[in-house]
Amino acid sequence: MNTKHTVAVTVNGKKYTREVVGHRTLLRFLREDLGLTGTKEGCGAGECGACTVILNGKTVNSCLVLAPEADGATIETVEGEAKNGKLSNLQEAFHRNHGVQCGFCTPGMLMSVKALLKEHPKPTVDQIKEAIEGNFCRCTGYQQIIESVLDATGQLKPKTEEMRRV
């Protein structure tokens, strides 16, 4: 048993092909077979969202997807954010607003927000909350993350902005 599967994917615009066993998760495939360790494993069971990536345009918990299921897919991960050493607009906003503390939740958080912004370029606070419902953050208390998203989309009120931009 356990024949190998050829998995060909496009991750952040770059094509990769690897041979994997059937029980390889997409998360491990990204981290260990492709060396893209930005995506994190928290619970490994669909609860925490640390492993969130965008698979064919939709966010998924990569710990609950098998690598062979992703054959032919287009995948976006946190590694696709910064370009030539320059943080993306969203990353800059997280940085400015203390949306990052330990940073463990950030790669997944950024992917959930990225998917949200594709559908709602100017999301409301409720839409932001709903989009990150499946992303646990044990540090920030979420407020700074919400403000980061508001800031990234030009919706942070000047007064709060001053408070946060220390």
Binding site: T3, H23, G46, T59, L64, V65, P68, E69, G134
Partner: protein, 271 residues
């Protein structure tokens, strides 16, 4: 880490059904994987084969006709249910139930077939579909059969599915289209939690039904009640079909209390 298993991804229904028969007992069907891969990771399930059902055309898509009603392919995901225009218009209860399962990441993967086949007492598409009078279409190499969803669930995480059978589609009668509805789900946190108690009500000109989750070994539904039934009568009918347990999430008494609260809150406000 997941234990070693073989991943199979048939493209045609006949291949799926044959593989399932061949590996009977040793294989599990893989849909969204949001229940199955968790069980495998925990080691509570150790199948030798995972057979992916997502490529089978007969198990995909959503169709509607005045004559045959609504049919949802077993591999249709929560997000597809939430965003389908016919469901939003004619079966809003279903769109609501699908929209309140887990998180966005889960809803993008979790399927209706997986939700029903896990047969958890709290399955959100279980109690809501029961209220709408759904039936389940099962297929195997022996043929196809359709059974009322009420009979599909047989116990905690147990269904009528035979080892060689798959859920192909879930069917909703046309007469339930446009039913007035209401649903409440008690959770410990907003978002991302299984129901401690859930109550889904549907009402047409001829009947009223209440589907209830997490209050019996399976999702349950009341008998058909007259649409103008009083709150007291509806609560009494609900108490006939529930039998909650005490567990870490809530006591039996609290669950019963919440069933009544939800019915009294929802009934006057059915939309």
């Amino acid at each position: 880490m997941l234990h070693e298993f073989s991943y199979l991804a048939p493209r045609e229904r006949k291949d799926l059904l044959q593989l399932l028969k061949k590996h009977s007992g040793q294989a599990r069907l893989l849909a969204g994987g949001t229940d199955l891969l968790c069980d495998i990771r925990l080691g509570t399930d150790k199948p030798a084969y995972l057979i992916d059902v997502k490529h089978i055309p007969e198990m995909q898509g959503i169709t509607w006709s005045e004559r045959d009603g609504l049919a949802i392919g077993a591999t249709v995901t929560c997000i597809e249910i939430m965003r389908h225009p016919v469901i939003a218009k004619k079966f809003p209860l279903l769109a609501h139930a699908a929209g309140h399962i887990g998180s966005a990441q889960l809803r993008n993967r979790a399927t209706i077939g997986g939700n029903l086949c896990t047969a958890s007492p709290c399955a959100d598409l279980g109690c809501s579909s029961l209220a709408l009078g759904a039936r389940v279409e099962l297929a195997s190499v022996r043929g196809t059969r359709v059974i009322p969803m009420k009979e599909f669930f047989t116990g905690v995480k147990a269904t009528q599915l035979k080892d060689d059978e798959v859920v192909q589609r879930v069917l909703y009668p046309a007469e339930a289209a446009g039913a007035a509805w209401g649903m409440e789900k008690l959770k410990r946190i907003k978002g991302h939690d299984l129901a401690v108690v859930s109550v889904a009500i549907a009402r047409t000109a001829t009947w009223l039904r209440v589907g209830i989750g997490s209050c019996a070994p399976t999702p349950v539904v009341t008998a058909d009640l007259p649409p103008q039934a009083t709150a007291a009568a509806v609560v009494a009918a609900a108490f006939k079909v529930v039998n909650p347990i005490d567990d870490v999430r809530a006591s039996r008494d609290f669950r019963l209390f919440m069933v009544e609260e939800f019915i009294r809150k929802l009934l006057p406000a059915l939309a």
